[in-house]
Point group: C2
Chain length 471, copies 2
Amino acid sequence: MTSLRDGNPRVREIRVPTLCVSEPLTQGAQKCFKEVIDVSSGDPHRAGMKPITFIRQVLAVCLYPQLLEDETLPLDVRRRAQRLLQACDGESLGSYTASSGLPHVRQSIAEFIMKRDAGVPAYSRNIFISAGAQRALMVVVKLLSGGEGQRQTGVLTPRPCPHTLPALLREAGVAAVPYRLAGGRGWAVDVSEMQRAVRSCRGRCEPRALYISNPGNPTGHVQDRRSIQDVLEFAAAQRLVLLVDEVYQDSVHGQDREFISYKRVLFEMGSEFWQAVELVSFHSLSCATVAECGLRAGYLEAVNMDPGVMHFVDTLLCTDISTPVPGQLALDLMLDPPKPGDPSYGTHIQEILLRRNTLSHNAQRALGLLRELPGVSCQPAEGGIYLYPHLQLPAEIRERAQMLGMEADAFYRQKLLEEEGLLVGAGQQGGTGGSPHLRLCVLLPPETLEEVLSRLRSFHLRLMNADISRV
Amino acid sequence: MTSLRDGNPRVREIRVPTLCVSEPLTQGAQKCFKEVIDVSSGDPHRAGMKPITFIRQVLAVCLYPQLLEDETLPLDVRRRAQRLLQACDGESLGSYTASSGLPHVRQSIAEFIMKRDAGVPAYSRNIFISAGAQRALMVVVKLLSGGEGQRQTGVLTPRPCPHTLPALLREAGVAAVPYRLAGGRGWAVDVSEMQRAVRSCRGRCEPRALYISNPGNPTGHVQDRRSIQDVLEFAAAQRLVLLVDEVYQDSVHGQDREFISYKRVLFEMGSEFWQAVELVSFHSLSCATVAECGLRAGYLEAVNMDPGVMHFVDTLLCTDISTPVPGQLALDLMLDPPKPGDPSYGTHIQEILLRRNTLSHNAQRALGLLRELPGVSCQPAEGGIYLYPHLQLPAEIRERAQMLGMEADAFYRQKLLEEEGLLVGAGQQGGTGGSPHLRLCVLLPPETLEEVLSRLRSFHLRLMNADISRV
């Protein structure tokens, strides 16, 4: 059978925006790259990270149950597959599920949350599975939307924020009310900025919710308990629904940092606050360490949400009919992995640790190199999968970009793509006096990261040393 | 390994609306059913139909590529899996795809369409993959929506129509403009009814699109070429965008009936019409014979659509990030199945034929029984997976329902569920003087259908013969 796999060169298709490759940036520039590397957004499998064996084995058996007889597969894989099949109507992944998800998986999620939060109660009835966290967020934002003019719903939104968020808010018909993160302090959350934002939007819209990501996307900041408390007190005082994007909860890699959920802190603040804040937390199969983006699943947990509103969450999810079943089952496998003593435990824990070590190593390695580049500064990331460096480009380059009708960072990114075949993400203005940032995903195989850094370094040094009249 | 499968009784969980089971309908009524059978909507795997082996084998290998080495799997399965893996970024189902779908699968769909339509050209750039046909329809309807009051978008909608359609149109913010199907003539399409509908909505909304399902859902009517031409001429004259739901295209089972696509007829009507009608056709993995509802995939093909509009289809699909990859690959496998000579061909064709024969046999069998019941009439279904019988209930029962504040058919359905554990779908008023219909999915294992018919018959006869004062 090896002949089937040999002789078929690994073809990697990568989506690249159509761009005209212009004249060489400087004499001697290299344009001969073998393939474009895209680190603009998080897609670890595309970049060559391997899937987690246990998840894939169980899903394969669920799809083709004759594999239950295959004794080369570990016993816990087959047992788990059988249990999951029994949780599906007609014991088939081909059946619809309730629009809120399979009861069995919702229960697994509740149990995972309770364990994660040191016993803070979680109930499956408050959990809704969706085709990705983005979809769940859209449903909730749509429910909060409404009003026109001064009464239009406003959502407090960090700057910088996840690159997909502004389009989502626009599509849902709500106004984004920006609050700046503290770029000079590792992108920490600053409640006085939130207060300023609320005051600033008076007469323009009515703030009804506060969106925050922790670990921060794309900043990599991880909030401590004190910071989370401050936000919760602010939300309680302002009566804002808290939309907490916790999709990178299992990717905290900063030294002495740990993930604490907003829900846990809220609970531990005592009953006065516990009843006072409506909170929705989001998690995702795509952004977690397992990075199963293509299977499309995520979930929300609603805390203190009005039952009437919960009913509408379900109703809106109904328009999707149901979340893809392989993704739902993968959520179950991610949140309830093999335990010590199970045949798959050794391999599984090794794969997970390798992945976390890779992320942590890569974040350090990239930070070190970025900080060596002239005109580049970068805060260390403590969590998530991005670095978010700041560019200080010479005036000549900024003017050149302006002449071409482009922002300086767009000019930089386009040239980087043309010259080196490296696609990096756009940053956002805000909190830093309007100077440009780049977004780089660092959850990659280490050898790919080296290639990324080498291309970036070589381009950057060439650009900074170039005779700008030739750019 | 058999021990794993033995001793684990097949548990079938079926979602049932919460209902208080009331007192027995009549003396001697049986209330001891083992499980509820739900034939209210199409979910063949839940009902016990088996998945198609080739599709499941290839997907299992794609999810766990070590199975490429498993020589107990047919060679064409492993080759196909390898080809599909190469079509995925990073050769993993865990990568995102473009929001419009994998280019390889879009190309397969275009080739399938061209073959189906005897060479009428189809281009992958006009095909958009989505998480089900319903999602694709929602995207297009949203693009057509807009306007307020008299200028609000109206969509001509058949009565009866798919049970999911009214909610979809409401959610998209368009007005449904009903046109009646000819209940007395096998639910044929009547263009004069469409003309009446257009006239009737003047001053209330602005009709911009015409929705039609062929084969008809839930009617089972299959349009012939002449009927399709009439609708196309009407759409051209009225400048309506045609939204053609062709999700049951591979489920035509009426004698001497065949599926002809709207696109093919339009093309063959000549260039005068070909340029004049904007048409969007929908197909689905869930409604096709393979019935892989849980994998969530479908697609639309846009014909003569403005490129600017196509761009927005892509943009709206972007909010879903991407369609689940297992579903996309299953579409490819469904539309490009094993060919004569391939190792899997024999089993595959046998499974597909068995399924089609089951559908055709069940539709006949159920029709025969329904027509024997007093007060029930039913048009034969020529395609799709439903029967749509008409109920003529005695005045006493209608009055009894009214006293309970219920429609007569809702009363009937509730009693049927309580007494016999059989859940059937609601019909819609319209075209039949407002008298009630039921919707029954007949794509079930024949033994399950027998159980369904036996419960229905026993309940119906009991009801019709009951002393109504005791109901």
